[in-house]
Amino acid sequence: MVIHLFMQRIHLKRIFFWPIVLGVVTLLGLVFALLEEGGFIENLSLLGLIVPIGFIIYFYWFK
């Protein structure tokens, strides 16, 4: 039952913390862009969608 040693909840929390944050931010971005065009909400939602791209650039090239 090696799996239990490795897959303790604490590990899962650590592993999936950032993926969940990014997932929620992306989802909010996708949905909020549907609600308004050319206003504050749209800018906020575009920001949400740019965050994952920012993560890619930072972790791949700057870290």
């Binding site: 090696v2 799996i3 490795f6 897959m7 590990h11 899962l12 592993i15 999936f16 913390f17 950032w18 993926p19 990014l22 997932g23 992306t26 989802l27 996708l30 862009a33 549907l34 609600l35 308004e36 065009e37 050319g38 749209e42 939602s45 575009l46 969608l49 740019i50 994952p52 791209i53 993560f55 890619i56 930072y58 972790f59 791949y60 870290k63």
Partner: protein, 376 residues
């Protein structure tokens, strides 16, 4: 580890089956994101002259007359335009009201009723990209096949998330081991890019699957609701004289004063009946501009006979379209779509390479693979 082994099997085979098609969809999707801009550069887009925004619109009957004057022997099927177009209308004319081939399109200025262009929607580079993306030039079977491949992609993504955990036990988020072997770098890149773009890829993948069913969903709606709405007219002889289409639009607008005209289906087409103008109204926000509400108008009297909101399955289809195309928020959203599309290509490619490089080697079971990947 038994279940991990099963997930690894699911991930491997669901990906392998769909990867070639997904690469095709990602590549053909790239120009389609910018189809509006590309058509503009290619000069295929109709440019209506600038006039004061307050310039009055001509009656739709005048628009219709201009288009019909070019093809007097043909019948009008639809009048439509893009969501973000407000200066022109495009009229489609077929040899019969139900013919699907050899359709002529006439774009007319909505303020002067002057014919501006006769666009050809079934020709050129963008048409090839579109057909490859939507149905592989194979009609409905092609669409459904690509829908099935999209479903496999969703399975591959979800199984990939499950596998992400054991591969990341000893790694920090975003850690890419660039200075070890090429294969480890590839593995880390695949895992990292895959998990970061997870929600976007799932959204575009799943809404693509819904779009693949569009034709069948719309057919079902026609049998289900359209038939019900036009039932009282079913056995009446076709009308002998037709009311003004502008009068029909005005009647629809009086019923839905908050909405604007989306498109018009003429009597006998799939979106109306022999006796009706199908006036499809829409809202004004990025979301509601894509949610149509049919108003059926008697083609003889220009009176509204029925109007009801579309059922949930049509709403699901209509909402899934902007979420798939990324065309609902201006050029920045399109660029985001472009970047994430390219990232998805990298995920597909690194995944394929991870499999390809070890296809002729002895491959230990998934547990040993995970341990080996950690042993550095």
């Amino acid at each position: 580890m038994g279940s991990i082994k099963a997930w690894a099997w699911v991930h491997k085979w669901s990906s392998l089956v769909c990867t070639a098609f997904m690469l095709l969809l990602c590549l053909t999707g790239l120009p389609l994101i910018f189809s509006h801009e590309i058509n503009h550069w290619l000069g295929n887009e109709t440019e209506a002259p600038d006039m004061l925004p307050s310039t009055a619109l001509v009656s739709m009957d005048a628009v219709l007359l201009s288009a019909k004057a070019l093809y007097p022997e043909r019948v009008v099927q639809y009048i439509f335009r893009d969501v973000d177009e407000n200066k022109t209308w495009t009229v489609s004319l077929g040899k019969t009201v139900v013919s699907e081939d050899d359709i002529k399109y006439v774009t007319v200025d909505a303020r002067t009723a002057k014919v501006l262009n006769e666009p050809n929607f079934s020709d050129g580079f963008m048409y090839v990209m579109y057909k490859l993306h939507v149905d592989l030039f194979a009609g409905l079977p092609g669409m459904l096949f690509l829908g099935l491949m999209g479903l496999l992609l969703v399975v591959a993504i979800l199984s990939g998330v499950v596998l992400y955990a054991p591969f990341m036990r000893r790694l920090a988020f975003g850690e890419i081991r660039k200075n070890r072997t090429e294969n480890l770098k590839r593995l880390d890149t695949h895992n990292f890019l895959g998990i970061v773009t997870l929600v976007w890829a799932l959204t575009v993948g799943f809404t693509g699957v819904i779009n693949a069913w569009a034709e069948l969903i719309i057919k079902y709606w026609q049998v289900d609701q359209m038939a019900e709405m036009t039932l009282p007219y079913k056995n009446l002889p076709p009308p002998t004289n037709y009311a003004s289409i502008q009068a029909g639009i005005d009647a629809a607008k009086a019923l839905e004063p908050e909405m604007v005209l989306g498109f018009i289906a003429f009597p006998g087409t799939a979106y109306s009946s022999q006796h009706h103008y199908g006036i499809f109204m829409r809202g004004n926000t990025p979301l509601t501009a894509r949610l149509y509400k049919p108003v059926l108008v008697d083609a003889e009297t220009a009176e509204v006979t029925d109007s009801r909101n579309v059922p949930w399955y049509i709403t699901a289809l209509l909402v899934s379209q902007p979420l798939h195309f990324g065309d609902y928020g201006g050029v920045v959203l399109k660029i985001i779509w472009l970047v994430l599309d390219i990232v998805t290509i990298v995920v597909l490619w690194t995944g394929l390479m991870l499999w390809w490089k070890k296809r002729n080697k002895y491959v230990p079971d998934i547990e040993t693979q995970i341990r080996l990947s950690e042993a550095y």
